[in-house]
Amino acid sequence: MTLFRTLALGAGMVGLLLSTAHAEGLQGKIIGFSQIGSESGWRAAETSVTKAEAEARGIDLKFADAQQKQENQIKAIRGFIAQGVDAILVAPVVATGWEEVLTEAKEAEIPVVLLDRGIEGPEDLYLTSVASDQVKEGRVAGEWLAGTVGEAQCNIVELQGTVGSSPAINRKQGFEEAIAGKANLAIIRSQTGDFTRSKGKEVMEGFLKAEDGGKNICAVYAHNDDMAVGAIQAIKDAGLKPGSDILVVSIDAVPDIFAAMVAGEANATVELTPNMAGPAFDALQAYWDAGTEPAKFIITESKLYTPADDPQGEYERRKDLGY
């Protein structure tokens, strides 16, 4: 272990020397990226966007897929340290158990940036973390709906994510914050659709039957786009027009929701950007060029997309990202 540490430290030093030899910018930097895996379309998109962002900046990205296992991530990070990379990006699969390996990186003076998820442990183990604010995502969706319906009475049905998962809890909370105090807006039904299309469709079918064939529902808020796509089909099966008879607002901004917007069947989506690496690279560049210590938590933008934002173009831009 000591030998390994010494080696790693040595390799880190070499990396440090190499990095100072380069001119400004990230051209030629070697950055390791330990990705969780490819369990969802969004994750696949994050991987491909990270690779594209690295290529655009001339970074030599070392990619390691951990296949959902922390031990693989720890191995990959040790490998990066041994290789003497300039920086390490980690999308941690779980929140705990990182102190030892990140201390090794710190001793090797390799900055670590956390992507998408946080960890429990001392904050000085990593340079910064880039993640979205899930509560804000829900709030943006809620504010859009409140702004769109104005003073009209609007009964909302909610398709929640998997019960107990943090995006489901946070996106629910944010939405409720946004519509709190508006007497004309009320969530009349809320059930879990497990973040999937088929459950989203099934739950929406139930809601439509229970609310007078859907005549009593003015909007559906889905915690992700997939459930919204399922709900749209259920609304059509019930003989109503999604997008006009029932408003559809959801979160994620995957390509298929833009296809639905093109067809006039979805009204708004809040982007969970797969570009977590871009802000991470920017922070690293500022850190190296000017010595600027970045904020500990960089929050990505939760951008709202509506049919006014060129859904066809957004669909084309996203469809090959691996969603």
Partner: protein, 350 residues
């Protein structure tokens, strides 16, 4: 749920079902349970039984129950046979994902829909044969043999779809999932046809008896001259094809193959449906229509929870409570208790 073993003695009673009085069928615990669940749904939502005609098809909560219950019912038809042979098939959910992935990927690549459907069914058959060979030739315990495909199968499906949800707009595939025939949703029609056909085949021929014989005692069945191995392979293959049909339905329903989620945990619902239907996990006596009824009970409960307006945190608790109640209702001890209580009452009345 008393276990009735098959009597192979020449002068034993034939296990061919005799026509039973309607009242006796209606007094079955499964029928009572379904009536109770539907009754509760009706109390929660008075419009539960209202069925209207819309866009050339029946429309209503009751139709939803049948439609949404159809995939599990189809899985349960195959699962009943497997369980009757004292086996179990954990891979059916993953096979659903594979079948949907095969069909969706092929039609997206421009292959005609009938070919894609046949390929999906063939994939299901192949998966079933794989399970059957592991169980019979390699003599691996069914729960482990099928666990292999349960875990690996989802990976195979993800490889086929390359990790994305493959969407399609092929009218034939969509019809399988969402179409209607004589006003009934296509999944219901498919499940019904499959149930009647499977029941007739096992009950009007000796097949059912032979399957039960293999389940009760495989060695004895073999000594009696049955090629038990061939039966087992055939039964697993049939379960694979059933899973493939269910996979086509759920893919057609959402117009896409979702390898991550299609059929996820449905193998457990299918096993539960079979058990609610009164088939013992120890093999032997089985009933396909009762397993289908079990699937409908599960779905009636799911739909009831959806329209009840309970918060989703209670979903699993409610489901568990109802299932425990149904299983207690079916247990021989409960039946004994009821008989004793009746005996006491009549004794007290004298």
């Amino acid at each position: 749920m008393t276990r009735q073993t098959v009597d192979l003695r020449p002068n034993g009673q034939p296990p061919v079902p005799r026509p039973r009085p309607v009242a006796q069928v209606l007094m079955r615990p499964q029928v009572i349970a379904l009536a109770a669940v539907l009754g509760v749904n009706w109390l929660l939502f008075p419009g539960f039984f209202s069925i209207t005609w819309q866009d050339g098809r029946l429309f209503g909560s009751l139709i939803d129950v049948l439609n949404r219950g159809a995939p599990v019912a189809i899985l349960a038809i195959g699962m009943t046979m497997v369980i009757a042979t004292k086996g179990v098939d954990l891979s059916v959910g993953a096979v659903m994902a594979i079948s949907g992935a095969v069909a969706a990927t092929l039609v997206s690549a421009g292959v005609s829909a009938p070919v894609a459907v046949l390929a999906a069914l063939a994939a299901g058959l192949l998966c079933g044969l794989w399970n059957g060979v592991l169980v019979t030739v390699l003599e691996i315990q069914p729960i482990i043999a099928t666990l292999v495909l349960m875990v690996a199968g989802r990976g195979v499906a993800q490889l086929i779809t390359e990790g994305t949800i493959v969407t399609f707009s092929d009218p034939v595939l969509i019809f399988i999932g969402t179409g209607a025939f004589l006003g009934l949703p296509m999944p219901v029609v498919i499940a019904l046809v499959l149930m009647v056909a499977a029941t007739l085949i096992v009950r009007r021929t000796a097949l059912g008896l032979l399957i039960e014989a293999v389940g009760v005692n495989r060695s004895a069945a073999r000594f009696a001259g049955l090629s038990a191995g061939a039966f087992l392979v055939a039964v697993y293959a049939f379960a694979g094809v059933c899973a493939a049909i269910a996979g086509l339905i759920v893919a057609g329903d959402i117009r896409g193959a979702d390898a991550n989620n299609a059929g996820l945990w449905l193998e457990l619902d299918a096993i539960l449906a079979v058990v609610i239907g009164g088939t013992s996990l120890l093999g032997g006596r089985f009933s396909i229509p009762m397993a289908v009824l079990g699937a409908i009970i599960i779905q009636a409960m799911n739909t009831g929870i959806l329209i009840s307006g309970f918060s989703p945190e209670f979903n699993l608790v409610v489901k568990a409570a109802v299932i425990v109640a149904i299983l207690i209702l079916q247990s021989p001890h409960a039946a004994l208790l009821v008989r004793r209580l009746r005996g006491l009452q009549s004794g007290a009345g004298k």
